[in-house]
Amino acid sequence: MEDDAPVIYGLEFQARALTAQTAETDAIRFLVGTQSLKFDNQIHIIDFDDENNIINKNVLLHQAGEIWHIGASPADKAVLTTCYNKTSDSRVVSCAAVWRMPSDWETGSHESPDDSAHNPQTLELLCHLDDSAHSNAACVLWEPMGDGKRVISLADNHALLWDLQESSTQATVSSTATLEGKGQLKFTSGKWSPHHNCSQLATANDTAIRGWDLRTMSQIYCIENAHGQLVRDLDFNPNRQYYLASCGDDCKVKFWDVRNVQEPVKTLEEHSHWVWSVRYNHSHDQLVLTASSDSRLILSNMVSISSEPFGHLVDDEELSEGEDNHQEEKGKEPLKDSVVSTYEEHEDSVYTAEWSSADPWLFASLSYDGRLVINRVPRALKYRILL
């Protein structure tokens, strides 16, 4: 079974921000935000044609500043949030805003890609997610599987829960949580848990991971020294509500059961530099994607702590249909935790990696030099998980 070669797409600017278009479940589509201090920044809409292995891109202008973080609304394909740096009066300010893509970007691109490239359309600003008291947004999180009405922004040491109203043109802070402590505390990253009716948030600051209850905006757990150094990213296991993955500057990826914060359930030490991003596959949570500044992307198969530790459960009906199948199932040795593959297509630090929201076997990774690589889970593993 030969695997398809990775598809590489180059941006002209350096870039850190990447997200899948969450609300889009048919087409494989990623959004990339660029970082340029000199020129107008862009949002590249990358469409991947799975059958022909072709990338189609569309560019939207994001003139507000260089994009550090990007998030797509889970409800409305056209709505997204960015965190960006704005330079004014030799001061650099971090802001966050909700944007809407122009409605006709798609049609334009298909008919004359060159035109659209030369005259890119501009994003339509819906609202700012800043107020005078809270700035320096590090990231904006959409409510998972929500109706696109609630977002959380992490700014300095505050977590702000916003309600978007009037088709997202108006944002009001409904509640806030503040991280108290010595020194200048600053949230570096966060993740909104899809479990517990979306009432939990996990944040990272320095070496600690904290869990928050959004109903009371109070801390519910805290993993002190979760990593030896800075925690860079978090992700919730989509199927096991207490499981959380984290990564950081100690080159490790750790898996936690938040009910027992003393010890990680599992630790991976495959990267040779800081790990910047960790992502569970949305459907098969044994697949974990990690991106690191050692320019590598690693896909791990963490069967032992996944929701399907014994492989795909076979239904009774299926069993009755074919005894042979069952025999085969038995003959298979249980899968072990292992690194599935290391992807070395990047030349520079890889800061983000994302699974596609449409195809669970496909993912994209973005390195600082603006290279976007689209890869697939190896077929052998894919069939092994499915069959």
Binding site: Y9, L11, E12, S272, D369
Partner: protein, 837 residues
Amino acid sequence: MDGEADGSVAVPGSGSDDPSRRRRVHGMLKLYYGMNEEGKAEERPESLDPCDINGPHFDPEVFLNKLRRECSLAELMDQETCMVKQIRSLDSDMQTLVYENYNKFISATDTIRKMKNDFKKMEDEMDCLSANMAAITEFSARISGTLQDQHTQITKLSGVHTLLRKLQFLFELPARLNKCLELQAYAQAVRSHRRARCVLQQYSHLPSFKGIQDDCHAIMDKLAQELRQKFRDGGSSAKDLSECVELLLQLDEPAEELCDKFLSHARSRLESDLQGLEAEIRPYPSASAMKDASAQRASTPAAGSPTDNSPKMSATPSPTSNTDILEFIDRGCNEFVSSLCLVITSYQELFINHAPKGELASKNIPQMANGKLNAFVDDLAARYFSLVERRIQEEKGVADNSLLVRALDRFHRRLQAVTKLLPGSAVPNKGTEIVIRAATERVKQYLSALQSFYMDSLTDVRQALATPRLSVASASVGGGGAHLGGPTSGRDAPTSLPELLSSLSAAILNQIKSVLASVHLFTAKDITFSNKPYFKGEFCSQGVRENLVVSFIKFVCQSSRQFCESAGDKGGSTPPALLLLLSRLCLDYETSTISYILTLTDEQFLVQHHNPVTPVTTLCAEAREAAQKLLNHYVKVQGLIISQMLRKSVETRDWVNTIEPRNVRAVMKRVVEDTTSIDVQVGLLYEEGVRKAHSSDSSKRTFSVYSSSRQQARYAASYTPSAPMDTNLLSNIHKLFSERIDIFSSVEFNKVSVMTGIIKISLKTFLECVRLRTFGRYGLQQIQVDCHYLQMYLWRFVSDENLVHFLLDEIVGSSAHRCLDPAPMEQSVIEVICERG
């Protein structure tokens, strides 16, 4: 017959003639008389020759004819003279013989005549004698006839007398027995009774005898009672006791009951011994008392016999203080084991060896008795062993192994006596098992002592590292003399790493050696149990080699590895120098120490590898792995320390609104200083290593020009969104041709590799931090200055200076890219600033 006589006569006659001549004469005479010598003459062929003048078939005619025919005249003449001469000599010989024989014959006739006269006289005397004898016989017959009657009467009388004496004995028996009873002469009483018993039994139908028998029975019952009483009292000596038993046996007491009684009695005495022993164990000594005792013991390590030790022990003030193990075992041996042996001997004497002699004894008494004895011995020995084991378990201090070994030796030796007495007993085996357990336990204790020694040494090293100048505690431990329990503090203060390392490894080695020496006592030649198969084989290979030496080495490796793990993510808990030192230690172990230690062990213990043992290579691999891990961790920790400095310096500064650079930032100087000191530190323990050839002007390489040109290319390019990738083309091409750098990768065991690792980590951190910031014009220039400064100093530490160039290029490139107003500083200005310091 004549010839013979002839010869014998001729010998004295011809007196002085030489034997050969005589022989010849004799021979010729024989011939003449037709005597053939043993019949041979007849068979001789020449003798048939008629011409042989000496032959029996001599024919003068033929001879003459032959002569006449064959010989000349002269020859005939000669022949004739010769013959005449011979004839003459023969004639004279014959005459001499005849004369001699005649004389002999005359004297023989005389002798015979004389003998005839003498015999006549003798015959007369013999006749007289026979007449006398006949007279005597007649008399004797007459006398015996008269005495016949009296003789029978006398015989009868003497028979009656003996019978009467016997009867008297019987009648006197009760009185006599009573008297014996009074005098406690039990043995005599029993003997007397035994003599009378059968008779009384036989004639018991007679009333008078019956009375006597009853009396006797009563008395003997009383006696038996008394004996039993005496037996039961137990105050008597073993000899008395055995006598008692012997008597009772003779009195037909049931042997089984006696066995039981005997044993139970012996048991009570042995148990008192055991209680005495137990009392010595029970008061668990306070730690101080123990220490006192051990201190005293250590002060007199040569205390040989228990008598040497006992005054010492009595001198210890505390009444609860434990006697030392040797004394304890001694006491156990002297009291318990020896009385046990005594009991066994007397028991066997009484019930097993003697019993079959008693005519009434049933056949199976020895078996029964033996069974009882074995059960008894096993039971008591088990209790004794449990006590001994408890005592041995208390022997926690590993200070003086010889004491324990001697105690065990004595213990084992004394049990051999039991083996001799009771060949089939399981007791000695159990004793050996105890010795084996004690030895294994001891090995375990040594292992833990070694481990704690190692950890203590590490603590000391840590202290020495923490206070490099004032260090008092050093890991230098005196060699063999030092006992376990913590390294002694030396007065000298070795501050440098190599000294610490060598003193640490020497201390550990010495400790291992002294432990080996101590353990070696178990296998010394003069120890009785050392020739048991366990001590010859398994103890050496499994016990000492595997469980002690190999385990310790593994422990060292493992604890080293733990430093990498538990020291944790923060990396702060273990001083980096200790990591470096341990790494070198493990590496030294891999290269030489392990094989040395194992060879030493194998030699000392003559280990025969029956079971598979851990090979040296496995241990070496483990040590190397540990060394590698430690060194990697060292690099990581040191890299992190520098990284933290760089990160803080980048994160805390407002790079947009900074002033024009005039100096290299202090943090860069600090980085260079720290790197230099790390370099020195590593250089103390690790070799230089290989590095790629330097270009002649490494420090002056104008990397900024290159990167700024790159920057210019990058920024000069017009913004062409339709042509992705070409802006980064140069940088990408550059990366294509340079090897991918693994930041936290494994390092080699040399200085350059270590330094390369540390610098890689630091610069990569610098790069990543720079990429997260936004720079103003002067911010970029400051970075340029800083990087140039680092360039000037760091290249010398690494194996491949291009690596530093590449990373610094990346830093400057990235910061230029993150710069709002990228106006690079002139290279010459940078150089001036950097050279100014």
